[in-house]
């Protein structure tokens, strides 16, 4: 079964520097022109597929277009041209704790965040103990999260995200959260997902983890896909870039 398919995908970002509404009205036609021409290329003619149970690493230099690719899979972005098919429920571990509110307690944030990530309240309540235990926050869970350290916040975010029961897990450089012990635990959790046969798409600069975890890599350079296939070969190409 195909989980994700990119068909000749182009993505341009429009740079919207209008200089405010005054300039926009005064130079209306000129601005429409500049806006039309002011495009930045993010992805050019990208095609690849991810099958069920595959663990795919996306590697490439900074600014190559990796996060844009994940954004397209997560459906927060739409392609300018081409098509993106996604089949299955997605858990995005793109930014941990997106939507956390500082004045709510850890517990309240778990419920809110879990719902935003696609769980029903009943599901979250059922998993609440497990989420709290995984986060290792102890009694802090009933305190407003504005008093948390950044490590504690990441742990909370990670714990919620891995408790979504997804078909596809998207991970963007978030395995380096928390202390050494928690990092190990996070990695183990990801392995667990792999063993359960989940599809994982993984963006990282950590070649070690890519080698350990992935069954396939996609190398993106200068907004173009230059390699799709075997991990060792892909890493070799990436390291020569």
């Amino acid at each position: 079964m195909i989980r994700i398919e990119f068909k000749n995908v182009y993505k341009y970002y429009t740079l919207l520097n209008t200089g405010g509404i005054k300039n926009f009205i005064l130079h209306f036609f000129k601005h429409i022109q500049t806006i039309k021409n002011n495009k930045v290329l993010a992805l050019e003619n990208i095609s690849f597929t991810v099958k069920d149970k595959e663990v795919v690493g996306i590697i490439g230099k900074n600014g190559a277009g990796k996060s844009t690719t994940l954004g397209l899979i997560a459906e927060v972005l739409a392609p300018t041209k081409g098509e993106v098919y996604v089949n299955g429920k997605i858990a995005p571990l793109l930014e941990l704790g997106a939507g956390f509110h500082p004045d709510l307690t850890g517990k309240e944030n778990i419920i809110l965040n879990g719902i935003l990530l696609g769980m029903t309240k009943k599901e979250i309540i059922g998993k609440l103990d497990s989420i709290i235990e995984f986060s290792e926050l102890g009694d802090f869970i009933n305190e407003p999260i504005r008093i948390y350290s950044s490590g504690m916040l990441s742990r909370l975010g990670f714990s919620v995200a891995v408790h979504v029961n997804p078909d596809i897990l998207l991970i963007d450089e978030v395995l380096s959260v928390g202390d050494f012990k928690f990092q190990e635990k996070s990695k183990n959790k990801i392995y667990e997902f792999k063993q359960k046969g989940k599809t994982i798409v993984f963006v990282s600069h950590d070649i070690g983890t890519i080698r350990e975890l992935c069954t396939k890599v996609v190398v993106i350079n200068d907004h173009r896909l230059i390699y799709e296939g075997e991990v060792e070969k892909g890493v070799e190409i990436y390291e020569k870039l």
Binding site: T14, P92, A98, H101, T120
Partner: protein, 255 residues
């Protein structure tokens, strides 16, 4: 599957609304009382200016003010907060795919919840002026629906424009002040010269405010305002949904 979706969207809406309500007064001692403070203080100010200083002749002027100021507060607050709706939720919009218009719905509901809580205060004033509440009040649910749709649509529109022009925040603030004085809230419609009256109905805010005002002030249902406010709300709703559906995938790039 569909049933589960309904469950999910209900949860999403309830939790977002609950969050808005919880967070608003979480760190203040007086909590909910603050949402009464603003309209009540405005009432006091306008009472002083128009009743004591300029001596406007209108019976029960205070009650008239109360009838309009609380509903104005709901509209005004929701749109002011709504202008920054997407920008203040930037991290969510960039990373998580959920229906973005739920942010607007929950904003309307949480501000509307405040308005509901202020109705007992309005009733207190009505009794204080030895007036009654009549059967016409049963129309309140319909009024709530119309007002919610109106505010929801406007919020979606201003929040989207604000992504393209951050100036919108200032403009909306100015415009709302302007509209506040152009709408018969602190003066009755009857004082508006007759050849200007037609223009009142071009002000999209007027029919909505007028609905509530007439109901609270004299237990009346104004048919013209009712029909026009429904028309305005539906037009705005269609327009805002079009804009929203066309641009929703752009939000993540623009916030």
């Amino acid at each position: 599957m569909i049933l589960k979706d309904v469950d999910y969207y209900t949860d999403l809406l309830l939790e977002l609304t609950k969050k808005d309500i919880k967070v608003r007064y979480k760190n203040s001692y007086l909590g909910y009382l603050w949402s009464l403070a603003n309209p009540l203080f405005l009432t006091l100010i306008f009472y002083f200016v128009f009743k004591i200083v300029t001596k406007v002749k209108m019976p029960d002027y205070t009650l008239f003010l109360i009838s309009g100021l609380f509903i104005w507060q709901w509209i005004n607050n929701a749109i002011m907060v709504g202008t920054n709706l997407y920008i203040s939720n930037a991290s969510l919009i960039k990373k998580v795919n959920f229906p973005r218009n739920f942010l607007a719905i929950s904003l309307v509901l949480s501000e509307g919840f405040n308005f509901l809580l202020s109705i007992p205060v309005i009733i207190l004033f009505i009794f204080f002026y030895h007036k009654q509440i009549k059967i016409e009040w049963l129309i309140i649910p319909l009024y709530l629906v119309i007002t919610s749709l109106f505010i929801y649509s406007l919020t979606l529109i201003v929040a989207t424009i604000n992504l393209f022009f951050r100036d919108m925040e200032r403009i909306v603030g100015l415009l709302l002040t302007f509209i506040f004085y152009l709408t018969p809230i602190i003066y009755p419609m009857s004082m508006v010269p007759s050849h200007y009256k037609f223009f009142l109905y071009l002000n999209i805010f007027f029919p909505i405010v007028n609905l509530w005002q007439e109901l609270f002030f004299r237990n009346a249902i104004n048919d013209i305002s009712l029909i026009i406010s429904i028309i305005y709300s539906i037009i705005l709703l269609i327009f805002s949904q079009k804009v929203y559906n066309k641009l929703k995938y752009k939000f993540a790039e623009l916030v």
